[in-house]
Amino acid sequence: MNCLDYRRQLLTGTGETDAMRVHRQQCAGCATEWAEHAAFEEALGEAMRVPVPPGFAERMAHAQVARRRKFLAAAATTLVAAGVGGYAWLARQDPLAMACIDFVMKEEAKSIMMGAMPRSEAALALAGTLPLGLVERVGQVRHIAPCPFNGQTAYHVVLAVPQGKVTLLVMPSTRMSGKRRAAKEGMYAAVVAMTSGSVGIIGSDAEVVSSVAGALRS
């Protein structure tokens, strides 16, 4: 490393390598150049960071929430229009849907306390049944972990949606057709068939559960 190489590399703005640092420590001229460069970079960063319109980030984030609400509303409307909406929650107390509610009431807290699995692993585990990207489009994923459920390894997902919180139980090994539902003590569950496996959606608001079910199947 000589002075010319040192100064050339400095001008690329890619930072100082070990070899450059060694040279600087032995060269007074390049040490001065380094100090001037640091001041220049600070001024450059400051100039580049032009003021952002007040509340810009929040406004942009809020627009995403509004879009998701519209998406959920559209999914729910589609369900009704197709004649498959309007879950008659109390008409049929399906055992699997009921087990989903029991899981949330008795096991959910324990599952959360056991810790979440890494996102990359979760994406792989869910991919065949319910792509994580689709879940994240519907709401913010707060927790994902494997859990024993209904004689298989299911995946417990806690999802924050604009209207509150819902729980998903992704069951890769449960094959079924149509949908099942249950209601118990203010909790509602729908189990819907996916291309492979099925998903239980559990929440305290029947409409939200229906909307999420529709959105996940859409």
Partner: protein, 159 residues
């Protein structure tokens, strides 16, 4: 990280990047807004979540070019690009004015490096140039900025 969190984390720097592309605050805001709508639609298909930041910057760039009604500009020969102070007698500028005097082909990689913190290789991929050409642009941009910000007396002494 969900899309909403991504937006919250990067909206400010996306706006600033759009500003250095468009050099206009209102247009920068429109470009980011439109880009985020496209991003929201495409987000479920994004496999590499670790690359979400560069993905967002790339969408802003594409949206800006789309808004211009132009395809991505062909890679410029560096010899054909004039740095402002080579054609005008500019000196002693404040850094922000000096940046405004830079050709877009120099200001853009600089914005991606300074605002986005991207490496030369990442910037090269985003702007469709070779890594060597990107490094040259970054170097020449800094050289030009130093000259543009140089006080009149030092500049006179140098020439």
């Amino acid at each position: 990280m969900g899309f909403e969190d991504l937006v919250r984390s990067h909206a400010a720097d996306l706006f600033r990047y759009a500003y250095w592309l468009a050099r206009d605050r209102a247009q920068a805001e429109d470009v980011v807004q439109e880009a985020l709508l496209r991003g929201w639609r495409a987000f479920p298909r994004l496999r590499e979540r670790a690359a979400a930041k560069s993905w967002l910057f790339a969408i802003v760039r594409n949206e800006y070019l789309r808004a211009l009604g132009a395809a991505a500009p062909a890679a410029e020969s560096l010899d054909g690009v004039e740095i402002a102070d080579e054609r005008q007698e500019l000196f002693g500028l404040e850094m922000r004015d000096a940046l405004l005097a830079l050709p877009a082909s120099y200001a853009e990689p600089l914005a991606l490096q300074v605002l986005g913190g991207f490496s030369c290789a990442e910037i090269a991929a985003m702007i469709g140039a070779s890594e060597g050409a990107t490094m040259t642009r970054l170097t020449r941009a800094r050289q030009a900025l130093r000259r543009l910000c140089e006080p009149r007396d030092r500049k006179a002494g140098r020439t």
